[in-house]
C-alpha cells in the first residue's frame, strides 16, 4: 500500500488518519493553551497590585471562568487525546484507530465548540463569569444570556470526548497486534484505557447537569431552586460527580506519559509494572466515590463529611504506589537528563507537592480553613500545570523526533525547561501562603497584606507565559529541520513506536507485528 495522502486543506478537513488527527488535536490544544494562557496573563496583571487597575470586575470574573474552562476542555484534554491518537495505534501495533471516520468527527467538533465558548465573551451581558464550576444559582438565576451558548458548547465538547473515548477503548480492546496481551501493553495505553472509561462514565453526567441548568434557565424547572423543592446543592453534587473523575481524566494519561519516559532515561525497566496498572485502576475507582470533598463547606451532614474525608485520603495509597515506582525506576539507573527526562523528573517532584496539598484539602476540618482560598488555586495548579501540562510537554519532547524525523534543539529545550520550572514555582508557590493567610480565590482586588506575594506570583506568571512562546519556537524549528533522528531516537527505548522509521510513515503496522 502506498504512502499516498490527500494534499492541501482537504487532507486536514477530511482525514481519517490517526496521525493527522493526532496532530490536529495537538495544535488545537496548543492554540487553546495560548488563548487560555493570555487570559491568565490578564488575571495576573490585575492581581499584580491591590486595587483595580486593568479590567473591570465582571470581566475579571469572565477571565477566571474562561481560563479554567479553556485550559481544562480546550488544552489539557485535547492534548491528551492527541497523544492517544498518535501513539496508541503505534504502541499496540494497529494500522489505525478502530473507527477512523468517527475519530475525525471527535476532533472537528472541537473547533466549533471552542468558537461557541469563546464567542460568549463578545455577547451582551458578557461571557460566563460564575467560575469554571458554574454553580447554580449563579449560572441559572443570575447569569447572562451567553450562558445558554456556554451550555451548548459544553454539550458539544461532551459529544467529542465521548466519541473520542469510545474510539480509544475500541482500538485498545480490539486492535492489538497478536501477542500484545493486556499486561504487555505500554503503561500509556493502560492509563488511556482507564481514562476513556472514566470519560464515557462521567461526560454524560456533565451533559445532564448542564441540561438541568438549561431547563431551569429557560423552561421553568426547579432542579436547583429550593422554592420548587429542588436544591442548589444538587447542582454541586451532579457537577462534582463529573468533576472529580474529570481531574483524573486529565492526570492519568500524564502518569502514562511519564511512565514511558522515565524507564528510557533511567535505562531500566519500569519498576512494578503490574502495580502501576492496578494503582491506575484503583485511582479510577476511587474517583467515583469522593466527589463531595469539593463541597465540605456547603453544609452536608457530619456522616458525609467523615465518609468523604476517609474515602479521599485513601487515594493517597495508589498515588503513592506510583510515585514510589517512578522513584524506584530511577534508583541506581544509568540516568541521563535529556529534555524529556528533565520534565518527567520535575513532574514527579512537583506533582507530588500538589498531591500533598490535596491531602491537606481532603481532610474536612482542615478544608474549612482552606476552602475557596488561594491555597486551593495553588494546589490544583501544581497538579494540573506542573502535573498534566509538564507531562504533556515532556511527551512532546519525547516523541517529537518520532513525529517529525528531526531532533529538537536540546539546548533550547533545556532552557525552556529551566525557565518554566523556576517561573512556575515563583508563580504558584507563594499562592499557598496567600491562601493560608486567607486570600479568597476569584476576586480582582485584595487586602494590602497580600501585596508582596501577589506581586511575586504575577512576575512568575509572566515569565512562565513567555517561556511557552519559546516552546512554540522550538517545536516549529524542529518541524522545519534539524539533526535527523534515528529510528530509535533514544538509547534503546522500549516500545513498538521505536521500531518504525522516523518520521513515522503515514501508515504504520499495516501488517500486524508479532509480539513475543
Amino acid at each position: 500500500m502506498s504512502d499516498h495522502k490527500p494534499t492541501g486543506i482537504k487532507r486536514w478537513l477530511f482525514t481519517t488518519n490517526h496521525k493527522d488527527i493526532g496532530t490536529l488535536y495537538l495544535w488545537f490544544a496548543f492554540t487553546m493553551f495560548l488563548v487560555g494562557g493570555a487570559m491568565a496573563m490578564i488575571i495576573r496583571a490585575e492581581l499584580m497590585q491591590p486595587g483595580m487597575q486593568v479590567v473591570d470586575p465582571l470581566f475579571f470574573n469572565s477571565m477566571t471562568t474562561m481560563h479554567g474552562l479553556i485550559m481544562v476542555f480546550g488544552a489539557v484534554m485535547p492534548a491528551m487525546v492527541g497523544f492517544a491518537n498518535w501513539m496508541v495505534p503505534m504502541m499496540i501495533g494497529a494500522p489505525d484507530m478502530a473507527l477512523p471516520r468517527m475519530n475525525n468527527w471527535s476532533f472537528w467538533i472541537l473547533p466549533f465548540a471552542g468558537t461557541m465558548l469563546v464567542s460568549t465573551l463578545f455577547m451582551e451581558g458578557g461571557g460566563p463569569a460564575f467560575g469554571w464550576t458554574f454553580y447554580a444559582p449563579l449560572s441559572t438565576t443570575f447569569a447572562p444570556k451567553s450562558t445558554d451558548f456556554f451550555i451548548f458548547a459544553v454539550h458539544m465538547l461532551g459529544f467529542s470526548s465521548i466519541m473520542g473515548a469510545i474510539n480509544i477503548i475500541a482500538t485498545i480492546l480490539n486492535m492489538r497486534a497478536p501477542g500484545m496481551t493486556l499486561m504487555k501493553m505500554p503503561l500509556f495505553v493502560w492509563t488511556w484505557l482507564i481514562t476513556a472509561f472514566l470519560l464515557i462514565a462521567v461526560m454524560p453526567v456533565l451533559a445532564g447537569a448542564v441540561t438541568m441548568m438549561l431547563t431551569d434557565r429557560n423552561f421553568g424547572t426547579s432542579f436547583f431552586s429550593a422554592a420548587g423543592g429542588g436544591d442548589p446543592v444538587l447542582f454541586q453534587h451532579v457537577f462534582w460527580f463529573f468533576g472529580h473523575p474529570e481531574v483524573y481524566i486529565m492526570i492519568l494519561p500524564a502518569f502514562g506519559i511519564v511512565s514511558q519516559i522515565i524507564p528510557t532515561f533511567a535505562r531500566k525497566q519500569l519498576f512494578g509494572y503490574a502495580s502501576m496498572v492496578y494503582a491506575t485502576a484503583a485511582i479510577a475507582f476511587l474517583s467515583f466515590i469522593v466527589w463531595a470533598h469539593h463541597m465540605f463547606t456547603v453544609g452536608m451532614p457530619v456522616a458525609a463529611e467523615l465518609y468523604f474525608t476517609y474515602a479521599t485520603v485513601m487515594i493517597a495509597v495508589p498515588t503513592a504506589v506510583k510515585v514510589f515506582n517512578w522513584t524506584a525506576t530511577m534508583w541506581k539507573g544509568a540516568m541521563t537528563f535529556e529534555t524529556p527526562m528533565l520534565w518527567a523528573v520535575a513532574f514527579v517532584f512537583l506533582f507530588t507537592i500538589g498531591g500533598f496539598t490535596g491531602l491537606m484539602l481532603g481532610v474536612a476540618p482542615a478544608d474549612f480553613q482552606y476552602h475557596d482560598t488561594y491555597f486551593v488555586v495553588a494546589h490544583f495548579h501544581y497538579v494540573l500545570v506542573t502535573g498534566a501540562v509538564f507531562a504533556i510537554i515532556a511527551g512532546v519532547y519525547y516523541w517529537l523526533p518520532k513525529w517529525t524525523g528531526n531532533m529538537y534543539d536540546e539546548k533550547l529545550g533545556k532552557l525552556h525547561f529551566w525557565l518554566s520550572t523556576i517561573s512556575v514555582n515563583v508563580l504558584f508557590f507563594p499562592q499557598h501562603f496567600l491562601g493560608l493567610a486567607g486570600m479568597p480565590r476569584r476576586i480582582p482586588d485584595y487586602a494590602i497584606q497580600f501585596a508582596e506575594f501577589n506581586f511575586m506570583s504575577s512576575l512568575g506568571g509572566f515569565a512562565f507565559g513567555l517561556s511557552q512562546l519559546l516552546f512554540l519556537f522550538i517545536v516549529i524549528k524542529c518541524i522545519k529541520g534539524g539533526e535527523k533522528a534515528t529510528d530509535k531516537v533514544w538509547d534503546n527505548p522500549e516500545g513498538l513506536e521505536w521500531t518504525v522509521p522516523s518520521p513515522a510513515p503515514y501508515h504504520t503496522f499495516e501488517t500486524a507485528p508479532q509480539i513475543k
Partner: protein, 292 residues
C-alpha cells in the same frame, strides 16, 4: 483510495464528519439564540436551528448510507464488526450514565433535599424560618408551591399500558432476531413491523398523557421539582424511544430491501440493543417516577 490493512477496512477521507460538526453547531447555536433566557428574551428565531437540523439529516443519510453500502459490499471483516459492537455498547453505556444523572437528581430530592426543607436532620431552623409549615411529601412542587395546584400522575392507566406495550415490543424484536437467524424474511419483516408499531403506539400514548396532564391536571414542566423530574425523565426517555423507533424503521426498510444475513447483521443487533436499553430505562421510570 480506501485501504485494506491486514483485512481491517480503513475508510478513505470523508466529508461527513465535518458536515456533521457544522450541522451540530448550527442546530445548537440556533437553538440558543431562540431560547427565552432568564430575563433578556430571545435574540433570534429558530431558522438557524432548522437549517442545522437539515444539515444533520443530510449528514446522517450520507454517512450511514455510505457505511451500509460498504457493509453490504462485504468490506467489513469480523474485526471491524467487533469495533462496531464495542462502539455501540459503550455508546449505550454513556446513555445509561446520562439517565443516571437525572435519576440521581430524583433520588436526591426525594431522599434528601425535600426532607431537609421540611426540617429533617439538623435543618429544623431552615424549616422554621424559611419554609414554615412545609411537610415532607412526594410528589411535591416545593415549599413555594411553584406552578400552583396540580394532580400527580397515577401509575395505573396509560403508564401501565405503556409498560406492557414496551415489554411486548422487547419480545417482538427478539422474535424478529430469531427469524433473521433462521433466514425467515417474512417473519423478520412482520415482527420488526410489530415492534415499530408498538414503539409508535407508546409514543402516541405518551403524547396523549402529556396533553392530558397539561390541560386537565395542571401538571407542567414548571410544576416544581415533581414536574421537573417527571417531564425531564419521561421526556428524555420518550425522545430515546423515538430515536430507537427510527433506528428500527431503518432496519425494517433494509430488511425489506433484502439486507442482512443470518451471520452478518450488526446494525439490526445494535438497534435491538438500543431498544432493550430504552425498555430497561422505562422500567426504572415506571417504578420510581410513576409508582413509588
Amino acid at each position: 483510495m480506501s485501504t485494506q490493512a491486514g483485512g481491517y477496512y480503513l475508510p478513505e477521507p470523508s466529508k461527513w464528519p465535518l458536515i456533521g460538526s457544522i450541522g451540530l453547531f448550527l442546530t445548537l447555536f440556533g437553538f440558543a439564540t431562540a431560547l427565552p433566557g432568564k430575563s433578556e428574551g430571545t435574540v433570534g428565531n429558530l431558522y438557524i436551528m432548522y437549517a442545522g437540523l437539515i444539515v444533520l439529516a443530510y449528514m446522517l443519510f450520507g454517512w450511514f448510507g455510505q457505511v451500509i453500502g460498504e457493509s453490504e459490499s462485504g468490506k467489513y471483516n469480523d474485526q471491524v464488526d467487533v469495533s462496531f459492537r464495542m462502539g455501540m455498547l459503550w455508546f449505550i453505556f454513556s446513555e445509561v450514565m446520562f439517565f443516571a444523572a437525572f435519576f440521581g437528581a430524583l433520588f436526591y430530592v426525594r431522599q434528601l433535599s425535600v426532607p431537609w426543607l421540611s426540617g429533617e436532620g439538623n435543618n429544623g431552623m431552615t424549616n422554621e424560618l424559611l419554609w414554615k409549615g412545609y411537610e415532607n411529601v412526594w410528589p411535591t412542587n416545593g415549599p413555594g408551591a411553584v406552578g400552583g395546584k396540580y394532580e400527580s400522575m397515577p401509575a395505573a392507566g396509560i403508564p401501565l399500558y405503556n409498560t406492557i406495550i414496551l415489554l411486548t415490543s422487547g419480545v417482538t424484536v427478539t422474535l424478529a432476531h430469531w427469524a433473521l437467524k433462521k433466514e425467515n424474511r417474512s417473519q423478520l419483516i412482520l415482527w420488526l413491523f410489530a415492534t415499530v408499531a408498538l414503539g409508535g403506539l407508546f409514543v402516541a400514548l405518551q403524547a396523549y398523557e402529556y396533553s392530558h396532564a397539561y390541560s386537565a391536571m395542571n401538571l407542567k414542566l414548571s410544576t416544581g421539582i415533581y414536574g421537573s423530574t417527571f417531564y425531564m425523565l419521561t421526556g428524555f426517555h420518550g425522545l430515546h424511544v423515538t430515536i430507537g423507533a427510527i433506528m428500527l424503521t431503518v432496519m425494517l426498510l433494509r430488511s425489506i430491501k433484502g439486507h442482512f444475513t443470518p451471520k452478518h447483521h450488526f446494525a439490526f443487533e445494535a438497534a435491538a440493543w438500543y431498544w432493550h436499553f430504552v425498555d430497561v430505562v422505562w422500567l426504572g421510570l415506571f417504578i420510581f417516577v410513576y409508582w413509588l
